[in-house]
């Protein structure tokens, strides 16, 4: 009852080829839609962290993509970038927009995370994100009480690790932007 080995090989090869052909058509059909959604999500994120920007330009510097925002007079009002780092369970990705003229952060937007629902997931809440609105550049301390100084960030109750993760991602992103754009200027 042993089936010839050639028949086994032919069966699997035929199934593989048919699958590949079918999927390449599906891929061609869906890719434009998928790319459109990704571009839209990216644009929304940039607008959220550079609210006053009328025009956004993509710039490569030091191997990193930055999004420069310009106002209606053509003045550069800020820079945004994608930043990511380890969270409590998985990588946290966020978009950060800064005002390089005043050395201040405009805002951050969390793009993806897998933090604990109800606890760490509150990094996506306005209450936590407001910690970074109009914050000066620097090394931040995560504190478990109300933030008193400019360099303090108020942690989410029960989610200190998530809070610290976001803070260090923000710190690193600010450093990268400062090095690419030479601090103030």
């Amino acid at each position: 009852m042993e089936t010839k080995i050639s028949k086994l090989v032919i069966t699997l090869t035929v199934i593989g080829i048919i699958s590949a052909i079918a999927l390449s058509f599906v891929y061609q059909w869906t890719t434009p839609y998928i790319e459109k959604h990704q571009a839209e999500a990216q644009k929304k994120a940039i607008n959220a962290v550079l609210p006053q920007a009328e025009e956004v330009k993509e710039v490569e510097k030091e191997g990193q993509t930055f999004y420069e925002g310009y106002d209606s007079n053509g003045n550069r009002i800020g820079v945004a970038m994608n930043a990511s780092g380890p969270g409590y369970q998985n990588v946290i990705e966020l978009m950060i927009g800064v005002n390089i003229n005043a050395d201040k952060i405009y805002a951050i937007k969390i793009l993806s995370h897998e933090e604990t629902p109800g606890l760490g997931a509150r990094i996506n809440g306005d209450e936590f994100k407001s910690n970074f609105v109009d914050k000066e550049f620097g090394d931040y301390d995560v504190v478990k009480r109300q933030a008193k100084t400019e360099m303090e960030v108020e942690a989410i109750a029960g989610a200190t690790i998530s809070s610290k993760s976001v803070t260090s991602i923000v710190e690193n992103a600010v450093k990268q932007i400062e090095s690419a754009y030479g601090g103030g200027a």
Partner: protein
């Protein structure tokens, strides 16, 4: 003939319900039932893959040698799963991003491979269709029920709509993995009691 097909269809709904009775496909059952939207989307996606692969496999069962039936089934299932993944990403990006990894993982859902092995590879296509529809709907309704319980207790809402007012203190544990085990256990126990009553 019609009676037989109806029997196959009803089989998955209750008597051999994949989650409650066969207890297969536990990975998505436990992982994505934290909101009704996720549970429903996962149920529909899994049902689609189950139906399409049962049709294809029961149509071509004569051409698939016994020695390589499992790899052949997996190839066919993976094709439909990849299709589902692309389709959701293109037309339902919100659902795709909240289910993320669990869509590609449908490939290894033992409910799907199990039905090919136990049913589609041995029965005519019309019975395979009835079986897939029954099992798919059976899988989906339990996912929806489970996720409704978890979302209601864990977030005070159903389908994202707030049901329980601000007086309700959400039990966060219900939307965490531990809550999945607790509510699934209670649900299966409850269904067993109902079943025993029925007999």
């Amino acid at each position: 003939m019609f009676k037989k097909i109806l029997y196959d269809f009803k089989n998955g709904l209750w008597r051999e319900n994949p989650i409650i009775v066969l207890v297969i496909g536990m990975c998505p059952t436990l992982a994505v039932t934290n909101t009704v939207q996720n549970g429903l989307a996962m149920g529909i996606a899994t049902s689609f893959v189950l139906l399409s692969s049962e049709i294809v496999i029961s149509l071509f069962k004569k051409f698939i040698p016994n020695n390589v039936r499992i790899p052949s089934f997996i190839l066919i299932i993976a094709t439909f799963v990849t299709f589902t993944d692309f389709f959701l990403k293109a037309f339902f990006p919100d659902i795709a991003s909240s289910l993320s990894l669990f869509i590609p993982l449908i490939v290894v859902n033992c409910l799907i491979l199990g039905r090919q092995e136990a049913f589609a590879s041995k029965n005519p296509t019309r019975r395979a269709i009835a079986d897939a529809l029954g099992m798919g709907i059976g899988f989906t309704w339990v996912l929806v029920l489970l996720s409704a319980v978890r979302e209601l207790l864990g977030m005070g809402s159903i389908f994202g709509l707030t049901i329980l007012g601000s007086w309700y203190q959400p039990m966060v544990i219900m939307i965490l993995p531990a809550g999945a085990f607790i509510s699934l256990g209670v649900l299966v126990g409850f269904m067993n009691v109902l079943k025993r009553r029925g007999n």
